[in-house]
């Protein structure tokens, strides 16, 4: 029987993958995608909890999260494009103009 914990385990693992991606990736775009993974892990947990709690609050929250994520991605990508135009790179390691 599939229960709450099954879903949460999937969500936790997905979150972990996202964290791993953020830490490992040197490419801003892929880093950003890993962040999306993390958000989605949260969404899964929210939906699972929502089902478990027999309410719709969690689903409403997921709705907000998806909307916000869309807006965030739009702005973020515009920013990354502008950065690329200026510096010709999207490497995380190349963001070093302002070191001590």
């Amino acid at each position: 029987m599939i229960g709450l914990v099954h879903y949460l385990v999937v969500s936790a693992l997905l979150f972990g993958l996202g964290v791993l991606g953020v830490l490992l990736q040197r490419n801003l775009l892929v880093t950003y995608m890993s962040l999306e993974l993390m958000l989605n892990a949260a969404n899964l947990a929210l939906v699972a909890f929502s089902r478990f709690n027999r309410g719709l609050d969690g689903q409403v929250m997921v709705f907000f999260v998806i909307t916000v994520a869309a807006a965030e991605v739009a702005v973020g990508l515009a920013l990354i494009v502008a950065l690329f135009r200026r510096k010709q790179t999207v490497g995380v390691d190349d963001l070093t103009d302002m070191k001590l």
């Binding site: 969500s11 993390m38 947990a45 907000f64 990354i80 502008a82």
Partner: protein, 482 residues
């Protein structure tokens, strides 16, 4: 449903929309006027908030939105902060490649987000308000998109901000899972033993990670120096004043209103975070040669000081945070306005650029000095009384828990170290020989008034703390701390 409670926010958003519309019909050479309109509008809204009362909490939209003393206090705080920032941006306008109208509007929208954050009584509103602030700042940070530094700042804030958001959402998911509701005040059969629920605890911890990012507390502070340095100066100011305060109001609410038991459970962690934040900020600031970067580190340190109030977990501590923020508002507004004016040609913010500021404008030099002195926490300026209250709150806890004395020791160490780099700024202003710019600085009238306001605020909070302290103490009654 008394939706009219959220009228201040609606007014701010409406003002922003109005500005965007006006921007369409404003010829490019008159865009500066838009800023004046925004300032006037905000001034009106700020004045109007004084007709509101927060003594007994009122709720709207179910329990999602609360209007109590704390919310009202912070709403005024944010409005005032935004007012200073807008004045600053009117001076900064000619340094943007374009889109000053949008810049004003974005500031207003971020402001609305902060005001909603002040009233959040539900994780859903908390989340959307924080995101409204954060996303506005992604844009505001990188608004000088012809400057690599600005874009880099934006990108760094973006990645780390999104990371914090992810943690925040995940945390909210678990909090919801633990309590069964998104509200700050779970009511239900199992709402009493929430502090025992590991799921709830984990969720709360992750929510705090998200908030820790906003206030730049260790270990979520790494973005601050770069972003402070790279962003346009008004943005930096707003980041330092508004965003941080929004983080603190939410932190206070979540910790002491939503989960008081868990909060006390984590006392040692708070103390550790607080101590490390103070040390990191102050020690990191010492070798800095760039004013904005220095203020970035110092903002971390100040977050640490304010965390003293959180770690104290008492009403006195919370009131001290509010008081400290008040002083911080005037002080930073003054400092950044001066930086804004002093680095007219190059927005680099190198300390060397301040050399000879005294000759270029004695008034600005004196203002920046006052600001530094206030940041260092020296009487008779606002920073001193704030620190006094914070230390008092912590020492009070020390009576029962000697571990707090270590916190006091760390804070003292931090303050002494901080004097060094603040005085370095003063030194650069007054007795540094090499001068890069010599032209006298013209100060527009509005800016001059805003600077007068900042100085008056710093002095008022430092010299006559009674009224404001009473306000702060009234405001934190909403948190039900003892």
């Amino acid at each position: 449903m008394n939706a009219l409670l959220t009228l201040p926010e609606i007014a701010v958003v409406a003002l922003g929309l109005g500005l965007l519309l006006l921007d369409l019909w404003t010829p490019p050479d008159q865009k500066r006027q838009l800023g004046y309109i925004a300032v006037a509008g905000l001034g009106l809204i700020l004045a109007a908030t004084f007709t509101l009362h927060g003594s007994n909490p009122q709720y709207a939209f179910g329990q999602i939105y609360v209007m109590d003393g704390l919310a009202l206090f912070f709403k005024r705080f944010f409005l005032l902060g935004a007012l200073f920032v807008l004045v600053m941006s009117t001076d900064f306008a000619d340094r943007f490649p374009a889109g000053i109208g949008e810049y004003y509007a974005l500031i207003l929208f971020a402001l609305a987000g902060m005001m909603w954050a002040a009233s959040a009584n539900d994780y859903s509103l908390l989340f959307v308000a924080i995101e409204l602030i954060t996303i506005s700042f992604y844009v505001l940070n990188s608004f000088r998109r012809n400057q690599a530094d600005s874009l880099e700042a934006g990108a760094k804030y973006l990645i780390l901000g999104a990371l914090a958001s992810a943690f925040l959402v995940y945390g909210i998911a678990f909090v919801y899972g633990g309590s069964g509701t998104l509200s700050f005040h779970p009511t239900g059969p199992n709402s009493t033993d929430l502090s025992l629920s590991p799921i709830f605890q984990l969720g709360l911890a992750m929510v705090l990670v998200g908030l820790g990012f906003k206030i730049a507390a260790f270990p979520f502070q790494i973005w601050a120096p770069d972003v402070y340095q790279g962003s346009p100066t008004p943005t930096t100011a707003f980041l330092a004043i508004g965003s941080k305060a929004a983080g603190f109001v939410l932190l206070l609410r979540v910790l002491f209103s939503a989960a008081p038991d868990v909060a006390t459970h984590w006392r040692p962690w708070w103390m550790a975070v607080c101590a490390i934040t103070i040390l990191y900020g102050n020690l990191g600031a010492v070798p800095q040669r760039n004013v904005k970067r220095l203020l970035g580190y110092s903002s971390i340190a100040h977050a640490g000081y304010m965390l003293l109030g959180v770690a104290a977990m008492s009403a006195a501590g919370a009131a001290a945070i509010l008081y400290y923020l008040g002083g911080y508002l005037f002080t930073l507004a003054a400092a950044f306005t001066v930086i804004c004016l002093a680095f007219r040609k190059s927005d680099t913010g190198d300390l060397a650029g301040l050399a000879g500021l005294h000759h270029r404008s004695p008034f600005l030099a004196a203002t920046l000095t006052l600001a530094m002195v206030s940041l260092a926490g020296i009487p008779p300026l606002a920073g001193f009384f704030g620190k006094f209250l914070l230390l008092k709150a912590v020492v009070q806890r020390g009576i029962t828990n000697p571990a707090y004395y270590w916190l006091v020791a760390v804070a003292l160490f931090g303050i002494v170290v901080s004097l060094y780099f603040y005085l370095n700024v003063v030194r650069a202003i007054y007795w540094s020989k090499t001068r890069t710019e010599t032209a006298p600085i013209e100060i527009p009238r509005l800016t001059r008034f805003s600077l007068y306001g900042c100085i008056a605020g710093m002095l008022y909070l430092g010299l006559l703390p009674n009224t404001f302290l009473n306000w702060a103490q009234e405001a934190v009654k909403a948190l039900h701390l003892n």
